[in-house]
Structure formats: structure tokens, C-alpha cells
């Protein structure tokens, strides 16, 4: 039982490049989330999804896009990477109004 998995673990991007952060969960959870954590700060919600085909913005959605075509997968897309997007990205999943389970994170450096 893998829980929530994220790939890659670490990535360096140049300004203006694009990439997709992958997130997969095997717990059949309806809800999935993307957070970012900047140094010395708490996690902030980027986007979330309450089920396949349904996504919505969180606190800090600018510069990101998401899609949810299956229950298991919730990829996060960065179209034009900027230094302000240097952060650690965490994916999480949960059943409705229950505890969120987090993946190990993707560390992204934009230079």
C-alpha cells in the first residue's frame, strides 16, 4: 500500500520552462490537494479536487494548472516557471472531511 506518491523528488528548472508534477494515490480517496511550502512558512493550498473532473482554486493558484481525469491521479502543471515558484510541493488526499494524507514532496528550484 503506497499511499500518496509524488514524482519527481527534486527538479531544477530554468525560468520560463514548464513541467508537470505527478501525484498518485491508491487509497480510493475522492479529495486531492496540492500545497506548496516556502522556507519558514506553513503549507499553502494551490488547487484541490473533490472528484474526477472537478477542480477548484486554493489560496495561491496563480502560475499553476491542474486536471483530474481519474480518481488516482492529480497532476500539477507549471507553464512558465518563475523564481517565485521555488518551493517544496506536497500532494495530499483524503476521504470527505477526513484526515489528509500527504506525499513525500517534490523540491523545485527555478533558476
Amino acid at each position: 500500500n503506497a499511499g500518496v506518491t509524488q514524482t519527481p523528488k527534486f527538479r531544477i528548472l530554468k525560468i520560463g520552462q514548464s513541467m508537470t508534477l505527478q501525484c498518485t494515490q491508491d487509497m480510493n480517496h475522492n479529495y486531492m490537494y496540492w500545497y506548496r511550502q516556502d522556507p519558514g512558512m506553513g503549507l499553502k493550498l494551490i488547487y484541490y479536487s473533490v472528484g474526477a473532473g472537478i477542480t477548484d482554486k486554493g489560496e495561491v493558484p496563480n502560475g499553476y494548472n491542474v486536471s483530474r481525469s481519474t480518481t488516482e491521479d492529480f497532476p500539477l502543471r507549471l507553464e512558465l516557471a518563475a523564481p517565485s515558484q521555488t518551493s517544496v510541493y506536497f500532494c495530499a488526499s483524503s476521504k470527505v472531511l477526513e484526515t489528509q494524507y500527504f506525499g513525500p514532496g517534490t523540491r523545485l528550484l527555478v533558476l
Partner: protein, 113 residues
């Protein structure tokens, strides 16, 4: 605008003693509160939670206290163990949010053997 605040970035405690981590919030609509624990290079893991209808919840060595009038919650760890050394985040949500969590900035706990 930080709605959830953990004013102590770090805390050091001797093994066997009590650790008390504090958290303050500003929004009275928050109705469910959680503590997460995070080790380096790992994601946060759930530790303990409390609903706004309670003022205390206990799970083994961990107890969370909620003071709604002061908009304050705390996590007590007794006795503290070296394996408890980690960053602790408090988090909260509202009834109307889709389980969206608002996190504090974290407190790094170091338990000294």
C-alpha cells in the same frame, strides 16, 4: 495574511519532560483543528485532532487543548522522547471549506536525550 500562527519557531526540551506547542488562529469560523508532524524530506503526517465542540482530546502521550474564547490551541507531549524531534504544524479548516486546511508556520521541536 496568516490566519494560523505558531509564534515559537523552535523549542528544546529534555527527554522525559513535557513539550508544549502553541497555536493561535484568527477566524472564528474554524471548527476543526489538527496537528501534523513532519520529519525532514518527508510529507506531514497526521498526529491528533480536535473538534470545536470539545476542549480536550487525548491519544497516548499526546493531548490537544482548545480554548475557543482565546482562539488558541496547544499540543502537549508527555513524556517527550528523542523520536518526537520534528517540525509540528497546527492546521485548521472551516465547516464550509472542502476540507481545505490552513496551516501554521510550524515549530521545530528538539528533544534532548
Amino acid at each position: 495574511d496568516q490566519q494560523v500562527k505558531q509564534n515559537s519557531p523552535s523549542l528544546s526540551v529534555q527527554e522525559g519532560r513535557i513539550s508544549i506547542l502553541n497555536c493561535d488562529y484568527t477566524n472564528s469560523m474554524f471548527d476543526y483543528f489538527l496537528w501534523y508532524k513532519k520529519y525532514p524530506a518527508e510529507g506531514p503526517t497526521f498526529l491528533i485532532s480536535i473538534s470545536s465542540i470539545k476542549d480536550k482530546n487525548e491519544d497516548g502521550r499526546f493531548t490537544v487543548f482548545l480554548n475557543k474564547s482565546a482562539k488558541h490551541l496547544s499540543l502537549h507531549i508527555v513524556p517527550s522522547q528523542p523520536g518526537d524531534s520534528a517540525v509540528y504544524f497546527c492546521a485548521t479548516r472551516t465547516q464550509t471549506g472542502a476540507n481545505n486546511l490552513f496551516f501554521g508556520t510550524g515549530t521545530r521541536l528538539t528533544v534532548i536525550p
